[in-house]
């Protein structure tokens, strides 16, 4: 399988009063055609800003280095016309809060048909109604004339998915699309998303803070901390046999609903830090239960361990392997 999206050495810095501040550090990822890659991390880890870079959307006063290659073409060298075509036809994006990404004064129908204005009016409408039916909204004709405030959050997110696939993209970027939803609604929206992916052979880049949710809907997982990918590999390996202390820490912090109850959670000490707060060593060293002196001074490079790339000096250490095994036992 050839990859649809290749991100190589992406670095994003933002200009502040005191100079350039890193947001994302040397990020490389690839996503196969119709594949699904989960990008997991806590707030401020840089997952959203990295995803926006796929669309060549950079934050204000920032500089972006590295390459984003889509279907063999460098996104950063696309001319204006090609970039517009790429953003509107090749890639689609859905967000955590659909309400802030839809015009409240226009109807659902207006929103849905916006991307297919080149078609005759009647055809546009038919296409939109059938797209709504595909995402589980059977009374599309009525919904087309409604306004966003008349729809619940879950329903509106389905409308977003319908709109996203209508222009026939190959890649869907989903940034915490179910975080604001109730858990039962989340399950349904994720199911709809799965069906849409299958039907349209969409590749998915799925951004979330929820490792278990990402594990359920992706085939590869990348775990980000402080603008850096700490561990990346097949979903089953990363989520069930994690090798990086940060991934292990995330799983140990998470209360179990199924399996054995954890008597007491093992939190990661301290608070999530940002990329610019990292010293010369491993960005996670300050919170890592296994850090040694050289972890604080020497930045680890990603190493291939098993099927995963792991950015840790000490990943093979028996102590760390034991911590990972404990989590597996409990789940």
């Amino acid at each position: 399988m050839t990859s649809l999206l290749e991100i190589r050495d992406l670095a994003i810095d933002i200009k502040t009063a005191t100079g350039w501040r890193p947001l994302v550090h040397s990020l490389s990822l690839s996503l196969n055609r119709s594949g699904a890659l989960g990008l997991v991390g806590e707030s401020g880890s840089g997952k959203s800003v990295s995803t926006r870079a796929v669309m060549r959307l950079a934050p204000e006063h920032s500089r972006v280095n590295g390459t984003v290659v889509y279907d063999g073409e460098d996104v950063n060298t696309m001319n204006r016309g090609r970039l517009r075509e790429y953003r509107s036809r090749q890639v689609a994006m859905i967000h955590q809060d659909p309400r802030s990404h839809i015009n409240p004064l226009r109807t659902v129908g207006d929103f849905l048909t916006e991307g297919v204005r080149h078609l005759p009016r009647g055809e546009r409408r038919e296409l939109a109604v059938s797209a709504l039916a595909d995402v589980g909204i059977p009374d599309g004709r009525r919904r087309m004339d409604q306004y966003p405030h008349q729809l619940s959050g879950g329903l509106l997110q389905r409308v977003m998915i319908a709109a996203a696939v209508m222009t026939g993209p190959k890649l869907l970027l989903a940034d915490e699309p179910t975080t604001a939803l109730d858990v039962t609604t989340q399950s349904e929206v994720m199911a709809v998303l799965g069906e849409a992916r299958e039907q349209h052979e969409l590749a998915l880049l799925f951004i979330t803070h929820d490792l278990e949710l990402a594990a359920a809907v992706t085939d590869r997982l990348a775990v980000m901390y402080a603008g850096t990918i700490m561990e990346e590999g097949p979903t089953a390996a990363v989520s069930r046999a994690p090798q990086h202390p940060y991934t292990i820490g995330l799983l140990a912090s998470q209360p179990n609903v199924r399996g054995a109850r954890r008597e007491r959670l093992t939190p990661i000490p301290g608070r999530p830090t940002a990329a610019h707060e990292s010293g010369p060593g491993c960005p996670f060293a300050g919170r890592c239960l296994f850090a040694e002196d050289h972890c604080r001074t020497e930045r680890p490079a990603p190493r291939l361990l098993g099927e995963s790339l792991v950015r840790c000096h000490r990943a093979e250490d028996p102590e760390i392997r034991q911590a990972a095994a404990r989590i597996q036992e409990e789940s």
Binding site: G154, S187, E188, L193, L250, Q254, R258, R262, R271
Partner: protein, 264 residues
């Protein structure tokens, strides 16, 4: 076991919206236990919590705390201090419940002064900060200088300042990153054990609830549909809605399921 909170047929109807938010809800919270109220948005769990605290008057029904009817605010001046000492609340987002201009010292000192003018405030503030794992060096900080987890610790310290018997925690860990959430959950467990507190824990997150709660009450459409010991509820849910909630939680082997066409 004695019931420290008794909710009796609590009902809240919002006439303007023609909404029955809470519908004849009755339950007991025992001395020293943690009862979780679980439900999705709109289930009435926060409205129920606010009625228990006295922040909202029920349309009908009543709340007894330590066997005595708890009046809604505004409280009569003479009883204000005592009522505040019974129950304190911690909310989801401390950035909206802490005054952005006040230092931690001011925030805590203000409440201490209101409740006990004689107290050695500096010593008490230090003691409170210690209790929540922050320490003296946080006294001069303002909410904007604090991380989300630190802010929530300050909110907990503020709730503890009046030595309450009961804490109502309304989605108190929901906005925190998972690594910090675990720290605060451990802190809450320690505080309950050390201070003999009773918790009413409002949450939509079954994993979090399992970690903190002895018993669980599941709400749907303003009613309690199931109440059980937490482990029983999770291992043998009885109500179809409880089953649905549990099935929707991602975990090993889980796949999202589409139940039916969208309705709402």
């Amino acid at each position: 076991m004695t019931a420290i909170i008794q909710a009796r047929k609590l009902t809240k109807r919002y006439e303007s919206a023609d909404l029955l938010a809470v519908d004849e809800l009755s339950f007991d919270v025992h001395q020293g236990e943690c009862l979780a109220v679980v439900g999705e948005s709109g289930s009435g769990k926060s409205t129920a919590a606010r009625m228990i605290a006295g922040l909202e008057a029920p349309t009908s029904g009543e709340v007894l705390v330590e066997g005595e009817a708890r009046p809604p605010v505004p409280w009569p001046r003479a009883r204000r201090r005592r009522l505040a000492r019974q129950i304190q609340m911690v909310y989801q987002d401390p950035i909206t419940s802490l005054d952005p201009l006040q230092t931690v010292q001011d925030t805590l000192g203000e409440i201490l002064a209101f409740h006990d003018a004689e107290a050695d405030r500096t010593a008490r503030v230090n003691e409170l900060l210690d209790r929540v794992g922050l320490g003296e060096r946080y006294r001069a900080r303002r909410p904007s200088d604090l991380s989300g987890g630190e802010r929530q610790r300050v909110a907990i310290a503020r709730a503890l300042a009046v030595n309450p018997k009961i804490l109502i925690l309304d989605e108190a860990v929901s906005a925190l990153d998972v690594s910090v959430q675990a720290q605060v959950l451990n802190l809450l467990a320690d505080l309950r054990a050390e201070l003999g507190l009773t918790y009413l824990f409002i949450s939509h997150d079954l994993g979090v609830v399992r970690q903190v709660a002895d018993r669980c009450l599941v709400m749907l459409g303003g009613r309690a549909v199931e109440t059980a010991d937490t482990e029983d509820l999770l291992s043998k849910p009885e109500h179809p809605y409880t089953k649905r909630l549990l099935e929707a939680v991602p975990g090993p082997g889980w796949r999202p399921a589409r139940r039916q066409a969208a309705v709402a």
